[in-house]
Amino acid sequence: MFDLERWQEILETISKNKLRTFLTGLSVASGIFILVILLGFGQGMQNGISAQFQRDASSRISVYTGVTSKGYKGLNPGRFIEMTNEDYNYLIKKYEDDLEFKSSVYRIWSGTLNFGNESGSYRVEGVYPDYQFLENEDMVAGRYINYDDQEKKSKVMVIGNKVKQDLFNNQDPIGQQVQINGINFKVVGVYTDPGGEREETRVFVPLSTSQRVFGGADKVGNLGFTLKPKETFQKTLEQSVRFSSEIESFLKERHLIAPDDTSAIGINNTLEGTKRFYDLIGMIKTFFWVVGICTIIAGVVGVSNIMLIIVKERTKEIGIRKALGAQPLSIITMILHESIFVTAIAGFTGLILSMALLEVVGPNLDMDFIKNPSVNFNVALTTVFILILAGALAGFVPAWRAARIKPITALREE
């Protein structure tokens, strides 16, 4: 390997056969290049889709109500069902040990916010402190609603980042008084949501405050829960499905709804969606891997082909070298050394170029379903080594055969 004389011989051969070297290198470099870009974008798609799914907690169960579609126990269809604090309190007591986060929601669909000369219409929701986690929100400034606010029915509010930009420009909103439908609330926090701007145009106030100030009495429009995760995803999913159906039958019984009425109570179990999401991610990953492996196979076949042709082309030269006293082993090492050297240089060139492209283009790419394409460096490196090894193996067979050819046969080759 570190035989200087042989290196000189190889480098000389390579530099005197530029086209051949270039073509071998090109097929290896482009193979690696394509693979890395593919895997990068596979990762990018996965990142993009994950971000879309991170809007809410991934195991959230939402309960909402609607209008009955069937008559039951003497009641007419067309009744609007409304849940109350009592329903919520009963449920959180009954499932106390299973629940992780819980909140009921009272919605004022459009609240007009006024601050100085600025105003805007936003969705205002009365919630419990846990709601932050159900919505997967992070605080940018200040704090979220807490239990003290809830107890005291304080007039405080938490606003989305977008609301802050709309109403406050560059001012610090914390501590400012903002009017909701003419009533003063103090801003205590600003949040951000991975779901993006659409999720950040909302305003949260304590549930108790909202029920009192906006005339909700004890009505709630929406319930949100997450369950404590079990050891396996499968068990968590089973538990969550069972929980959903228990809530449904409890609410139907309590509000006198026909058991087969599908429109009065709606339950949205994100976990089932999450399962589909993970399946989808799995599919995408598998797809890119299959394509990637096919690319590698194509690359290996390409390298093997070129090695076969090179050896064929050099058969006569090999004959001459043998006539001059070259031993079979020196012929094999000459060919392998050259092929490994060329594939290694080309492989790393392809690797570096593609990684550089991903580095430059990746962060600037702003599309809904592709986010920050990147590739695992070890995976890419392994691929390069596989190609080099394959090139060496592919070169070994013809090299070995060439080294065994009788010099007289090789010399007759024209």
Binding site: E5, Q8, A323, G325, Q327, A403
Partner: protein
């Protein structure tokens, strides 16, 4: 220097077996310049290839400089070729992407000689064949005669016991042929043993001994008065 006894060789072509050499007995002393003649198919090239360890005999014995050449594996054959023999081919067989100098240096590379020493020695042999000024030219920039001179320099480079030339003038015109023969005669005058396969009478008469082959047997083996190539140039 060379002794062969009862040498047989046959080739199988499809279902037919072609008996090319049918029992050759023949020896060459050190310092001889021998030509092997015969029409095509007489087995002269096959004999040379066996002498050159490029091919193997089926039967018979072959001794080169006291070493029996038998059942060689490729590794030892390569060593022996490098140590004992220098080849000159009709089609020159230079490596086309290497300069004249590097071509001459090839046998030395396979002897494991360092580059600097190799280059010096190769240069000396190029000077000997009168091509010192062409050392860094590629084979395709040289004329036929020049290529053959490079090939001769290469054959001499490893200082072999015997030079084997297969139709060395076959691809050259008469004038160039005689120049090459003059060079070969000069090398023989210095004591090198040389075997030449040829079918040209005038070339054969520039050697010291003519061996005539016909249908795989030696029919005639006579010493001749050497014609100096220089007198024709």
């Amino acid at each position: 220097m060379i002794t062969i006894k009862d040498l047989h060789k046959s080739y199988t072509m499809g279902t037919n077996s072609l008996h090319v050499l049918k029992g050759i007995n023949f020896s060459v002393q050190e310092g001889e310049l021998v030509s092997i003649m015969g029409s095509s198919g007489s087995g002269k090239s096959t004999l040379l290839n066996i002498l050159g360890m490029l091919d193997e005999a089926d039967e018979g014995s072959y001794t080169l400089d006291g070493v029996p050449i038998k059942n060689l594996n490729e590794k030892i054959a390569a060593q022996y070729r490098n140590k004992f023999l220098g080849f000159i081919f009709q089609s020159f067989n230079l490596i086309n992407y290497k300069s004249a100098l590097d071509n001459v240096g090839m046998p030395l590379y396979y002897q494991g000689m360092k580059r600097k020493e190799r280059t010096e020695k190769a240069m000396a042999y190029l000077e000997k064949v009168g091509l010192a000024n062409w050392a860094h030219h590629m084979p395709n920039e040289l004329s036929g005669g020049q290529k053959q001179r490079v090939a001769i320099a290469r054959a001499l480079a490893s200082d072999p016991k015997v030079l084997l030339a297969d139709e060395p003038t076959g691809a050259l015109d008469t004038k160039t042929s005689y120049e090459v023969m003059d060079l070969i005669q000069g090398i023989n005058d210095e004591g090198k043993t040389i075997l030449i396969v040829t079918h040209e009478d005038d070339i054969a008469h520039m050697t010291k001994r003519i061996v005539n082959l016909k249908d795989g047997l030696i029919i005639d083996d006579t010493a001749v008065d050497q014609v100096r190539a220089l007198s024709h140039v």
